[in-house]
Assembly symmetry: none
Homo-oligomer: 142 residues x 4
Amino acid sequence: MATLTLSRARTIIRKTLEAGRERDLQPLAVVVLDAGGHVVAFERSDGASAGRFAIAHGKAYGAVMMGLPGSDLQARAAANPAFMGALNGAFGGAIVPVPGGILVRDARGRLLGAVGVTGDTSDNDAQAGQAGIEAARLVAEI
Amino acid sequence: MATLTLSRARTIIRKTLEAGRERDLQPLAVVVLDAGGHVVAFERSDGASAGRFAIAHGKAYGAVMMGLPGSDLQARAAANPAFMGALNGAFGGAIVPVPGGILVRDARGRLLGAVGVTGDTSDNDAQAGQAGIEAARLVAEI
Amino acid sequence: MATLTLSRARTIIRKTLEAGRERDLQPLAVVVLDAGGHVVAFERSDGASAGRFAIAHGKAYGAVMMGLPGSDLQARAAANPAFMGALNGAFGGAIVPVPGGILVRDARGRLLGAVGVTGDTSDNDAQAGQAGIEAARLVAEI
Amino acid sequence: MATLTLSRARTIIRKTLEAGRERDLQPLAVVVLDAGGHVVAFERSDGASAGRFAIAHGKAYGAVMMGLPGSDLQARAAANPAFMGALNGAFGGAIVPVPGGILVRDARGRLLGAVGVTGDTSDNDAQAGQAGIEAARLVAEI
């Protein structure tokens, strides 16, 4: 499988935070996970609330574990709340099924990992993350 | 109790994966548990997402612990969500009550264990698992 | 990163079980994890005790999370039991630090994942796993 | 309370990783927590093993929760293992009481947070972290 290097993860985070400032979003926090769901890098903007790591992580972790972006997980949770509750039991409560959990692929479609963005509305989080991923010349599935 | 040998478990898994490919399903993962809920064998197809073991296990584990297939567990969860939530408390969050958790019986109706299938829609998962169990000349209760 | 396909995982498991039988070992169980610590395949021989999945998994999981084979983890646990206890807290109790947790690399040294073997003595487990990995033309770090 | 800004956290991480490379250490991972124990930033070097976030976090979290650096926590664990075990019960297993968990203070002695470093020996981890903290013109208590 292709790799999500620390250098690429840094670019994604910086460009996502930059996109948030350009759009006047609330202070964001951004995590980058590899394809195995392990943290490569994380940054929390000054002014973002204390618990942002867990939320960013939960968005990205759900995406990479299920192979589905946050928007799809949110739709599944709405259609079948008990299923999402049970999934979270199986994964120790670590999944946050809302937009802002974004799959990251290379140009050939290979899964590199996932990005989790939190701080503003879920949709704004997702769009800032997409901008960050594309600035790193990678493909975002939001 | 009658036994679910490794040889039979291998047949079930191979035939379930084969049924998935024949029906053009998404890449599947399949677990076989014995009548005590302990893992006998598991395989995750290339391309299935990272978290598939926990989901396959949760489907099969719920079935064998409750003596009910995933479709019945799903109906109970819909009728009484608090009951399923409490059950998952008692079982450490390990039950995923949806189709794709399948009881396995021998020709005389004795419970041998359960199969958990995940990767496509829950109903498609269940049908692929049924095909795999029947190819092993055992009886599937989906 | 390079990949540990299901096909390769099957070969490792079969050859490990074969090596166990040739050496008259107790019935073995073998798990193969990818580089992210997620289960690719598992088989438990008939006659192996019910809890073998958790043990095989714990050996392989510790190896891949720490980047160290089971023999090194055992040495660290002996030198500093409190450290290993604390590590297990951080990893939810999922690490079993003894031989039989084996890193799997390709010919160029890239980490593909880990194998966990259990059923006989830890050293016999490790040697059977090494034979299985080498039969798949991969490199074992025991 | 004085604050550990993202800008300062980035400097600490970069300078710690730089110190590791200058000393030919194994690839490091570094986390920065604020005075409340919440993650501000984290980076895992390419080549560091998958589980490094949990270890780095456990070192820093123990330091900031107890107000003691990792070397003191290690000494307490050696003197009274049952106490450290009980602490980890109270903190959900999240404390890793070894060197590499470092308190960060400003020039007036106010606690800003903690840094956790992992990847090489615990003592080397601690020295690299100290170099990183001092490069950010802050005071390290290792």
